[in-house]
């Protein structure tokens, strides 16, 4: 099953749960904002999205991951708007039988997300100015 959401504001993580019968592997990734971009100190990133298309692409990507890897669930949320240093901008949770396919799916999903989902970021510097960010790891 797939859940894919763009959220404006702090991300509520998907719940960890003890009730699954066939999922031996739960893998969670939280992408967080670091205090430096290209050596410059920042206080936050500000993410903008192509409203509608961003969530549609994220959903489609999650569905492709489900078809490509033998995983059971892929849940993800991407935050937009201002995200302070330390906070989570991307939260992905993958449930699968074994860890191998979960790790592979996580790797692929984030790589593709960074190529395709129409979301962009701006760096907010300590002096308050807002500059385009070029960093995309």
């Amino acid at each position: 099953m797939v859940k894919a959401e763009i959220v404006n504001g702090p991300i509520d993580f998907f719940p960890s749960e003890d009730s699954r019968q066939q999922d031996g592997a739960e893998l969670i990734f939280n992408g967080r904002v670091r205090a430096t971009e290209h050596g410059e100190n920042i206080t936050a990133l500000e993410y903008e999205q192509y409203e509608g298309m961003a969530e549609a692409e994220l959903t489609q990507l999650a569905e492709e991951a489900m078809n490509k890897f033998p995983i059971h669930d892929l849940f993800c949320k991407h935050r937009i708007g201002k995200v302070d240093v330390g906070e989570t901008s991307l939260h992905v949770s993958i449930w699968s039988k074994h860890r191998r396919e979960g790790l592979d799916a996580m790797d692929w999903f984030i790589l593709e997300l960074k190529k395709r989902v129409p979301i962009w970021k701006w760096a907010i510097l300590q002096n308050g100015s807002r500059i385009p960010s070029e960093c995309n790891h």
Partner: protein
Amino acid sequence: MIKITVKCFSQVRYALGIDILNLEFESGTSTSQLEKFIRGKANGKLDGISLRIALNQKYVPDETELQDGDEVAFIPPVQGG
């Protein structure tokens, strides 16, 4: 004539200084012709920046014919994650 809405994001909005453009073109205009028009309006500020084309919120090949009412966006390199 066909009416086209162009949505501008990130470096495209930065270069054009505008969020949305409402434009009219002759029937048969393609996305690549529209891209040339947009790059022209940017006065060089989009030079060297690769743009993928989204038509009605889906990525399409560069040479796609536009229809009346289409929403187009030129997608600069994305930076999610």
